[in-house]
Symmetry: C2
Subunit: 332 residues, 2 copies
């Protein structure tokens, strides 16, 4: 059986050129004992994948040029030599960027049993949702009544972060770019602020206009002007959960950091970076809390869906244009 | 009775000009019930005072132009209408920058009873020492065996920080400027690295040469190139205690921050600003632990002493040239 997959032909400099992603086909090996074949139905593309394209080890191994790219995926077992995963089982795994995956059963997770569409386990009930939850609860230690600021607030992670924060009762402000995202955030009861065409001073003023007493928690997905403005709006004892810094992921040269890091001192703030995989042992707790809320429709979780394996690189590249509202997914 | 004091005639822009400090004299009010008069014997000058000269409230009220400047001081009670502080009592208080202080007894502390010179309570057993201790223990949560990096390592705070860290058994590296400071640090068993004439890349290489496995804790007194280099040398889970950022205190325009803040994310590091006064309830614990060590001579605590009230502004300004080793003091 053949598998079609994307591979990277060279390490990108700056924004990756579409041409660096090559669609290849290869015959799969004989299925070994303990292995299964999965027909992928949904692929996840995520900003963190940009970091794996540089050829440098950060917190995760870099992608190997010429090898199939990887990422979260959902699919159906179509051939099995693993008794726990018979044909027809729906699974989640990390062999995305391809149509047919072949892997040992130990690398598979059966989908949890909540009454939700399967792709939900790539979004609000998957890594991005868990990231929002872990960042707010385990890193920022959000308390009831905290005022919370979220950048990238209409993205896969941010859109859950604002809703979890809102449920705790403080003022919640979300930063986003497009009018459609701002409107969507407002429809969730979140005060939406645009960063577009604003320098740090102007964004600071807009944030303090939305929440004059300032923020106890800043959930950071973006960096750049958002971080500089956010630092100006911290309350004493504020916590910053640094989840992502997408503004800089395609930089070819290091960009200067915020000129007001002294606010960390003045406001006795804590800024902490985290990687969701370090907190994965808490995934069952997360799922128990958030799963039923999603199944009941109590949490909004938009998806931006692109159809067809061939479009996977395009879906990935759109992340850096801010083209997605909620989770960016590829449907096969 | 007359008191001679320094006052600020205008808010400094950049490095304060010596001429902004004016020595004035004023007749003290009649001593009220509950008040004492203190003849100051030692005055403290500290980098944080620069922040109080801007006219802007940060974490502490700004100095008022024309009013006596303030700061920690040690002295002897020479007149008393407070029974708990009879004439002859040695006290610590915050009416520095002057020869004679007059204040309510509630603003005085009697000196603790360790067998040490009185000015020690302005340095290693005072605010700077407590700052080193609180930053390492309460903010950075230093553990036995941690590799610790300290900037401003030969200063009043840093010189205690390196010794406390060294006693816990990991590799301790101190950043300083002059050869005399580097030699002194080496004599304490600390690996000393100069930041002079080095860019962030060169300083990074020098730090990793001194401690190839990187640092669990970074005690930050300086900012600028020290912070940028330190971020490159963090181990996973590192903690940065942000005590001071003296490199930027005299900036007239905001300087760009480190271009590698993403290391906070990649290394899942925590950066936390703190103000020692928030931790002052732990001063007795600090004193109980560190006091006997200082009395026994187990901890080095250099002083840089300037003589005469008239020299107080000069002593203060020398802090920004890195002219002090250990605590900078004015002896009256």
């Amino acid at each position: 059986m053949q598998s079609r997959f994307f591979t990277l032909t060279d390490h990108p400099q700056g924004t990756p050129a579409r041409e660096l992603f090559a669609l290849r086909e290869a015959e799969l090996d004989e299925l070994a004992d303990g292995e299964v074949r999965v027909r992928n139905t949904w692929l996840s593309v995520d900003p963190y994948m940009r970091g794996r394209m540089t050829g440098v080890t950060t917190y995760i191994e870099p992608f190997e040029l010429g090898a199939p790219l990887e990422g979260a995926a959902i699919g159906d077992v179509i051939e099995s030599r693993a008794p726990d995963f018979p044909v027809g089982t729906k699974v989640r795994h990390m062999q995305g960027w391809r149509d047919i995956a072949q892997l040992p059963a130990s690398h598979l997770e059966p989908l949890p049993g909540h009454d939700v569409p399967e792709q939900t386990y790539l979004g609000v009930l998957g890594m991005p949702g868990m990231t929002a939850w872990a960042g707010l609860n385990r890193i920022a230690e959000m308390q009831s009544g905290d005022n919370v600021l979220v950048s990238g607030a209409a993205g896969a992670v941010g859109s859950l972060a604002v809703q979890l924060a809102k449920a705790r009762g403080g003022t919640v402000v979300g930063i986003a770019g497009s009018q459609a995202k701002l409107d969507w955030l407002e429809s969730l009861g979140v005060k939406a602020v645009s960063y577009k065409d604003r320098d740090a001073g102007e964004l600071t003023a807009a944030l303090l206009d939305a929440c004059p007493e300032g923020f106890d928690v800043y959930y950071e997905n973006v960096g750049g002007v958002c971080l500089e403005a956010a630092l100006n709006t911290l309350r004493v004892g504020a916590r910053i959960a640094v989840c992502g810094l997408i503004a800089g992921y395609n930089d070819t040269a290091p960009a200067p950091g915020p000129s007001n890091l002294a606010m960390v001192l003045i406001r006795r703030a804590r800024m902490e970076g985290f990687i969701v995989f370090d907190h994965w042992s808490h995934y069952p707790t997360f799922l128990e809390e958030i799963g039923p809320q999603v199944a009941r429709g109590d949490l909004e979780h938009d998806e931006t869906v692109i159809d067809g394996l061939e479009q996977t690189p395009d879906a990935f590249l759109k992340l850096f244009e801010g083209a997605n509202r909620g989770k960016m997914l590829v449907r096969l």
